[in-house]
Subunit: 251 residues, 8 copies
């Protein structure tokens, strides 16, 4: 807005543009040129961290095209989530891609140095929850966070979880990933003194209903300081965790 | 059957009853007189223990009537579940009734001495789950079991549960009662080496859906040796626990 | 643990306690005395802030009893959520209670000075969502946060929301409360650059299904940095918002 | 009816047919010959516009057969929805077919000139909603409407939507297509002063439940002047929008 | 905007305000002063018609207060939906209120003369659906529409419906209200050649699930030109019907 | 139709009415006068049997009014279902009413002699299902059927059911009523060689979901010759059973 | 039972078998030898009609094996439902099989002459419902019924249905098959004076939920004399229709 | 713990380790070294029985790896559930594997001699439930139980079930497996006097909803002594049955 509206105002000042005409132009100006200037701050992610591409439903060519655009705009680090093997093969022929098959995440340009206020802990109930957890962990790492992983520490063997007490107590924010009964975040939430982001996964069968059982379990947790994201939404958890881990004093 | 059919056979033997007539009588005999003789064993609960009346949907007069019949049949101990205060008042005027308001359970004739193979542990996640737990505990006690109660040991403060490790390890069967996220049985199931009966309760609000969240959580538990009864079904859990706690070598 | 186990070790050192006996005592020590020492940190809420009592399902007498215990333990500020008018009347006769009828929240001892890193914004879609929002806001205030309220800014009149752009952009964390279509958090999440905690409410009728429509809408939001708590869970949102607004660099 | 029943009545008048026989024939007359004459008006779509074939579940041969019949009846413009690539290939070898792969819509005979009272705006929340939106847009165009498309203007970036304010304000009827949280129609409905037809899509994962989350969100919208069609029902929305855009004074 | 921004621009022109300062003021201007000017058009309902108050969840005093404000702003006709008897009694003591008990609708100032392009038909499946239908009908009448009512013409006696063929064929828009199996709109939609707004009601028991059966039935209708509003949402249907019945050619 | 249309045709024959005028009158004739003549046969229930009034949602005065109309039309036997005590009191003061409190059914004029082709068996799983079963039984009796009742023969004590084998094998049609697990119709359906109408009841708690568990159980039965009506729909089952029990050879 | 138990009794009479031994043998006798003799009557389907094999989940070899067994037992007519093309090919090489691809039904030995008391009408809402309808029709025909088919007479074009009024009025029992909104059985049920068996189909998309919308619609029908079978259960409907169409006076 | 902590304490006693250092080490000691010693008892399955591997979601190589580890630890008997044919082929080339295709269970090292207190009965409603039942049976056998199988004894032919009365009466614990209406466990539960573990299966179509109908039916059973595991969870039922069949007196 600065440039365009300023020019207009200066033109009004000089008498080159009539008040009526200026009024019309301001009214017609795209919203983002006026009040939404700040919105772009929102999108301006911290220097050096990765941009994230949601790969699901995009063809290999489309993903490659977005990458090309980003890189031509100076973005060096790019992380692609839900990237099919096929897309990874295609993109891998064009760029130096670090592809993690299990979590279907691809990374270009490596990870930035962590600059958060602490560490993010990512925990899973079982081994089958790891792909979702890795999506969260890699997203967080690509956004400049140190991530500690404790996997397969489900509540039906709670001593496994308790042996990681140090990590739980020292985390700034915890991402707890679980399918089936989805009880891990509740137990962690009762132990930790930091925000816990619960991620239900679609792991399970029968009455697991594709993650609904875990989702309901998490929404009903009596542990304080906990909130929930969508089923299998590792990206959302990693992004939010990074946001919390980069909290700063405002105004 | 013994008496009636025996008499018939003897009558045939003596020639007092023709074969045709005997054939007809056997065919017409109530099923329970023939193959179902054993069924009655099923109903013949061990000597001295209580009969249980399900009080819901019965008027005070109906409950009193059933008690009268039972007692005239020599049954001294009677336990009434889901007994409204109004029914307790009515019955209490007729019999010496020990009424537990919170669990809506009434007992006539006191409790028998425990004769199970071990102790039944009844645990709850929160204090609001206690009425259901007490229904289970009192049913079990009325059927001749020693019951240990550990209440309000929910998973969002797992150290409270762990401080009862001795009870968990020494129980013969555990009834784990929880609403909301319903994770307690999973955690207990991972610690204990005995059958765990999970009881979801309708405690909670919002996405608890009247106990459905807890029910699903329990059905999806990855802890071995665990099974589930209906929401708020303290009676069913107590009855089954007693059955397991009275297992004996069969033939 | 420090004191008790230290004494034990010193006693071993001095030969007053045998190794075997010490071994037994350590093994039997309540869990919280060993690894769970930090757990208490979790419960040690920052100096001066309120303790919160969940009033639902508690009798006036029970609430008064808990307050008495807390105050005798030196807790001056106490906040009671989901407090019925009847309980407020009872407690109000014993203590100087500031009772907010609409949100069913009662406060004893007033609010502490805010000491968070910024402001918490609490927004609602409609006027009927305000009770839940106030629960969140009052919980946050009682935990030492400055709270800005913008109510009735639902998405079916998005200009109302946009006129509060300054508040949205300057918040440290936002609690967005909405029933019916539950779209408010998504719109706010797209505008803000801070964590957004979405609270579905049971406001609505028909296919609102007691908050389920709003809950699903929020779980499926494509806005980044957003997470969800249970339907009507103002307390949970306020508590988590306070936790995020008090983030500090850890070790 | 005119001809047949008139002939019968004249035959009665002349005495050629008895009253009894006429009574019988009238009773037996197909319903459509009597009161349902008007029903056909309903099917008589305005001159020059396309007939629409619902292609799902029909073989290429069946579709080709229907096209043949329609064309032999003088219908020049035909639009096929939910047309598989395979069917398009088959039909394309027989007729000059304009096939839109993404929306699976095929057109024979091109589009008629718009003759509605205004423009129909078709908007989508994301890019993955476009196939459904295109089905709506192409159906509307084939029925003689001018369609303005604004795609990927979802509510998690509301400024994108607001930059199209002119289109929203000048539309006669709006078709708002969205999956996931389904909030787009609510926001548009709050801005526009014309009927808004909301189309939930099955886009999304986890708790999106194949479009149910979006559907519920739309049904619960507090925006006035809005109604909803089935999940992914682009055809229904386009057809209804055209009907509204061709409203005329009756009687 | 006209006045304020114009003044600002004139002030810039005269050199009384610097370009920088003007830039800041424009940036800070409330959104409604810029692009949202038109939004108010949206709220400017046609001269003479009623404003509608949603009475649910409002106290008699609150409703009376809103009425007072509206009337002091020159609004003479006011319609209150979901108005409890108690509120009607209260308001009736202050204003000349025409209260319809069955539909819980109250009207102040009577109805305007109809000025739509045709008639709105409101039909119900059963007699128990009438309150919802009346809400729709009265809302439409209060917004300046002629309404024809055909009640209790459910599909399990389709000849009752067919005897109203003239009304169905001559309507500009139809509001079809039904609970239980909710089939009425489908049958009407197959007969009529105008938009049909389907309103499911919560009438029924058992597997009616409070209107869900009817809602699903309507969403899945194969009749063209039909759309659905929320369960029991008579207001929404009446408002939309009026909007369609007042369609005009737009610039 | 006979009279009216015949008169019209005779008038045409005589030349008193023109063909055009007759054409118009026939077109305008109510549908029931033409093709729907037979529909009335449908409503003409066999001589002497009762008319049934669905009492739910009707005031005592409304019910009395309908009864009055029916009786003035010569209907002597009237059965009212879902009749509240209050309505029974009111109606009982005006007519000789036989009111069954448990099933909320009232009868005026007593029952007709049975004239069906056999007996209808009505069975229930438990005692709490009896009100629904009695509604079915009384409806069937009021429509001229002999009804055999076997109550409380639920599948968790299958020998109770088997002791009624004679009744099961000799019934013409069976109405099987059950709540909770709803298994009774399946077991009966496997034993009987006649149509079985399954009626789920809303009896139960927790995961019974108001009859949904029983409904699903019945819909999934592998017993042949079985069909299902709505939850608690005793009337529907009794009516259908009577219809089947009065099957006759058709032309 | 006759033979075996008679022999035993005679042996007792003769003194060849002791009473004790006879008692034991009777107790051990298979149930079907005693009370269940009649059960076999149930399975004795009328002379000449087909046996039905449910083909789903059976291999071609398994189906062929069952056919072989049946034929070696003298069964000449065999109907196989849900028979995959692959199974039809395999069986067709061994037997003279009449395979109907669309309904996946295969017939060996042709159809018996109809011997029911009237005609069964099978109707569908759309063309996609025909496979399920054909399963019902062919099952009924194979069991000795005359079947009239009226397909694609859905309620969104009710005049199509009404033109078949003669068939509706003259049927003994009607099978009404519909997916999507499932309204066909309700409309037919309101016209016909015979039992209507409603069959929901899984036809549809979005909020059709695989037949649930149609199922609920049918369960909530206000038409009398109607009942419902499982989604897509053409076999069940055809079997029950045949049973009703063969009703005879009993005892 | 014994060794490590004892050494530490002795070191403190000797003055070789300071109290502070010892304090730190104890605090850091893995949880399992202190209170969780007993937990391992839990995992110590009885001598000679099999370890069970859950094969779902594991590659053939992963399964082989786990087997290798187990065998190198001296475990001779290993049972793999949910083992794909492909995995069986792979593992079968490395070890002597007994693979049961229908139940997808593989066994290495054969079955141990039964040492339970009685027999486990495994029953199914239909033949399609057998794979789940076999999983339960083979798990139980691999854990040292004698298993009796009675398959295809569903409730729609209850005499088949009753002919196995001897087995039902003599079992120590019963696993009842059923899909569709899921009524088998209820009927068995009413006959037996031992614990019944109900296993719903995903067998069925339409309103079976993948096992939900059976699950709900089982949860609502009125038979005492019954509990439920997840849909298709044969392993869980077999494991729990074995646990109950090995109950011993404790303490």
């Amino acid at each position: 807005m600065n440039s365009e509206v300023r020019k207009l105002l200066e033109s009004v000042k000089k008498g080159e543009t009539s008040v009526d005409e200026a009024l019309l132009q301001i009214k017609m100006a795209p919203f983002e040129d006026i009040g939404f200037a700040k919105v772009d701050l929102h999108r301006k992610i911290r220097q050096g961290v990765a941009e994230v591409i949601y790969g699901a439903g995009k063809t290999p060519e489309q993903i490659a095209g977005i990458i090309e655009t980003m890189r031509s705009n100076g973005q060096e680090r790019i992380l692609i989530t839900r990237m099919a093997q096929e897309a990874a093969d295609y993109v891998g022929r064009l760029y130096e891609l670090d592809y993690r098959e299990r979590s279907r995440v691809g990374i270009i340009g490596g990870f930035p140095a962590p600059d958060g206020i602490g560490k993010i802990l990512v925990a899973t109930g079982g081994t089958t929850d790891i792909p979702v957890a890795e999506e969260a962990a890699l997203v967080a790492e690509s956004l400049g966070n140190e991530v500690v992983r404790i996997y397969d520490v489900g509540v039906s063997g709670v001593h496994r979880l308790l042996s990681h007490m140090e990590h739980i107590m020292s985390a700034t924010v915890i991402v707890a990933v679980a399918g089936m009964e989805g009880a891990l975040p509740s137990v962690i939430g009762g132990l930790a003194d930091c925000p816990v982001i619960a991620v239900p996964t679609s792991v399970g069968y029968g009455a697991a209903f594709g993650g609904v059982a875990a989702l309901l379990s998490m929404l009903n947790s009596c542990a304080s300081g906990m909130s929930v994201v969508n089923i299998d939404n590792g990206f959302g958890a990693g992004y939010l965790a990074s946001m919390i881990n980069h909290m700063e004093v405002k105004g």
